[in-house]
């Protein structure tokens, strides 16, 4: 089961990071977005080719107001 921001996702293994980002309603060229998979940064250039394993933990992050 792929976890996206701590929640179970219906995405099948082999889905790309790009697919995860798209499901969250984020445009591919949106600024201020970063993705980590299993504790490693996935650069934007690799979103379209990075395939997720069955146990992948995906974090999709963005800017938040903060000190």
């Amino acid at each position: 089961m792929i976890l996206v921001n701590g929640e179970h996702s219906e995405l099948a293994p082999g889905a790309t990071v790009q697919a995860v980002v798209a499901r969250l309603g984020i445009e591919p060229e949106a600024r201020g977005i970063a993705v980590a998979v299993d504790g490693e940064v996935v650069p934007r250039a690799a979103w379209g080719t990075f395939a997720l394993s069955d146990e992948a933990r995906v974090e999709v992050l963005t800017a938040m107001q903060g000190g």
Binding site: I26, G32, I33, A34, T62, M64
Partner: protein, 268 residues
């Protein structure tokens, strides 16, 4: 007067940035995005901090896209922080994600050691700083007012040190001005007072003690009138910097008349 103006005009170099304003702003805690934008304008700041959080994590993240746009429209540079990280590992990964999201090598490195005080965990902070410097970051660490730790942070390559005057959001000001003065003596990199500012006089004192800049977040965002406080902080930072350059008079226990005694009449 001539030299004071020259000092005031020297920009502050942080990484690749040349900052004319010596006030840094936190973007958290404002009642609305509009008030934040107005406070940024009133403060004259050119560098503001932002955090990185999960997309869709709460109602506020619906505004996340507009945060990036609002800051871009304000013409300010973004300083990502690692707020909420308790280990070097989490802080390093957060900084790497921030670099990816915001296309900047700058990071305000926070590695928190304690929920109640939000004071830094010194060993983890130093470890994270070293790794991030090696990874090419311009590291601006949030630290304590310990001059020895400040020197160690500079030794591993930090581009500035950002000591707390008192705990984050406490508004307690600079609890140990002597330590802050010692930190000023200990390092030559930019010194930025990072936490504890409650009102304008705290910012002025920081600059009088030799800080190169002041970071204010809650003090502005949670003031009754954030926009007015932003303006007050800006004036205080400028006043404090001018006073530092002007050279204050020494403190004396007894009075010293400013009116001369020569020519004093004998009236009785």
């Amino acid at each position: 007067m001539e030299s004071a103006i020259a000092v005031e005009d020297a920009p502050l170099a942080l990484g690749g940035l040349q900052l004319r304003s010596r006030l840094l702003l936190g973007t958290g805690g404002f009642p609305s995005m509009e008030v934040m934008a107005d406070a940024i304008a009133a403060s004259g700041t050119e560098l503001v901090t932002v955090a990185l959080r999960r997309v869709g994590s709460d109602a506020r993240s619906a505004r996340a896209g507009s945060l990036v746009q609002t800051l871009a429209a304000a013409g300010v540079a973004v300083l990502p922080n690692t707020a909420g990280c308790y280990t070097a590992r989490d802080a390093v990964l957060t900084a790497q994600l921030a670099r990816e999201a915001f296309e900047t090598d700058l990071v305000k490195l926070e590695v928190i050691g304690d929920d109640d005080t939000l004071l830094p965990d010194a060993p983890e902070l130093l470890r994270a700083a070293e790794q991030l410097v090696d990874d090419g970051f311009t590291v601006l660490p949030y630290t304590t007012d310990d001059p020895v730790l400040a020197r160690r942070l500079v030794e591993v390559g930090c581009a500035a040190v950002m000591p707390a005057g008192s705990p984050i959001g406490s508004g307690m000001g600079i609890r140990n001005p002597y330590n802050l003065a010692l930190v000023r003596e200990a390092v030559t990199v930019p010194l930025v007072l990072d936490a504890g500012v409650g009102t304008a006089s705290d910012a002025a004192l920081a600059m009088e003690l030799g800080c190169d800049a002041v970071m204010a977040a809650s003090a502005i965002a949670r003031a009754a009138d954030p926009v007015r406080m932003a303006r007050a902080m800006s004036a205080a930072v400028e006043a404090g910097r001018l006073a530092r350059a002007a050279g204050r008079i020494p403190r004396r226990l007894y009075a010293r008349a400013s009116t001369p005694n020569e020519g004093l009449p004998e009236l009785t």
